[in-house]
């Protein structure tokens, strides 16, 4: 995939990963933590879009909902049911957090698909913060709620006694790999999709295969629309699964 072939002679130049460079919006000085970059802009835009959807949607409170209200209600109900089904009834108090995560990831994914935009969720830095927040929340909630019984998550009581220490090590590793896989799954998927699109866009410069290339870009764009939704869904549902583990440890 994402090979960077510099063939100046033929005019075929691939820079599939250049789209992920974080640049300052104003001027081009060094980037500090307070510098407003294109990543900041697109994250702010997704937050604005979410607030606009929910505020405009819930303003009317009509019996017969408008289109905006229907979309807001659909997303709200969908996420509510997901938390209830996967994490259990007593996880409902985490519903605002889960809805925030879902909306932010969903809107960042879809805004990143606009041409000339910047996919914020393609950066591991963004997704790692989200995943670490989930991991810390789950761990703290688990210990506060269950005390030392939370460690029963690693001590598989249904397994034979001789196997339990080995399983404990495996469970411990898989527990600490969670934030890594949680963040890399989202970031890697979005980054891979955008890089593939850019690779096909590089082929469009050659006149003979440019129709094929344009068709391939359209097809992959359609696939990416699906992937953006599914990855937001997967990120959220895994959060719910981890929350369930924290609230009800033991197998």
């Amino acid at each position: 995939m994402a090979t960077e072939a510099h063939e100046e002679g033929t005019g075929l130049v691939f820079h599939p990963l250049d789209q992920f460079i974080v640049k300052p919006l104003f001027g081009d000085g060094p980037i500090h933590w307070y510098t407003i970059t294109n990543a900041t802009l697109w994250m702010a835009l997704s937050v604005v879009a979410i607030v606009a959807l929910f505020v405009l949607g819930s303003r009317g409170r009509a019996i017969i909902p408008t289109r905006t209200q229907s979309i807001g209600e659909l997303i709200y109900g969908f996420t509510y049911k997901m938390v209830e089904d996967v994490a259990g009834k007593d996880a409902i108090k985490f519903f605002p957090y889960v809805l925030t995560l879902f909306m932010f990831v969903l809107f960042s994914n879809y805004l990143g698909l606009l041409p000339m935009s910047f996919a914020t969720t393609s950066h591991i830095a963004v997704t790692a913060v989200l995943a670490m927040a989930v991991f810390l929340t789950v761990t703290i909630v688990g210990f506060v709620k269950n005390g030392s019984k939370f460690l029963g998550l690693f001590w598989v009581s249904s397994a034979p006694l001789a196997l339990r220490p080995i399983l404990a090590v495996i469970e411990l590793i898989s527990y600490f790999v969670r934030p890594v896989s949680h963040s890399i799954r989202l970031g890697g998927n979005i980054m891979a999709g955008h890089a593939v699109m850019k690779v096909f866009a590089g082929f469009a410069a050659v006149a003979v295969i440019s129709p094929v290339s344009v068709g391939a870009i359209s097809a992959i764009y359609g696939l990416e629309m699906l992937v953006a939704g599914v990855q937001a869904y997967v990120f959220t549902i895994l959060t719910c699964v981890y929350l369930k583990d924290a609230l009800h440890p033991g197998h």
Binding site: M1, A2, L17, M82, I184, R185, N189, V234, I237
Partner: protein, 78 residues
């Protein structure tokens, strides 16, 4: 013909990491195919298992993404 043996190793390693993507594709196909087989046997139970389906796909896919990441690291970061 520039470059050295380390760069050769990088490119070969990145290519080998691509095998992981194919293996992940097999895994995702397996999950989806078995879900469909089960769903056609008992369609009434299918709707309640879509969440499990997506979790299974996500776990299978994550490992493929890891290999893609290893390839990227070999190409651009090492």
């Amino acid at each position: 013909m520039e470059g050295d043996i380390a760069q050769l190793g990088q490119f070969i390693g990145a290519g080998l990491a691509g095998i992981g993507s194919g293996a992940a594709a097999i895994g995702v196909g397996h999950v989806g195919g078995n879900y469909l087989a089960g769903a056609l046997r008992n369609p009434s139970a299918a709707a309640s298992q879509t969440a499990t389906l997506f979790i299974g796909i996500a776990f299978a896919e994550a490992l493929g993404i890891f290999s893609f990441l290893v390839a990227l690291l070999l190409m651009f970061a090492v």
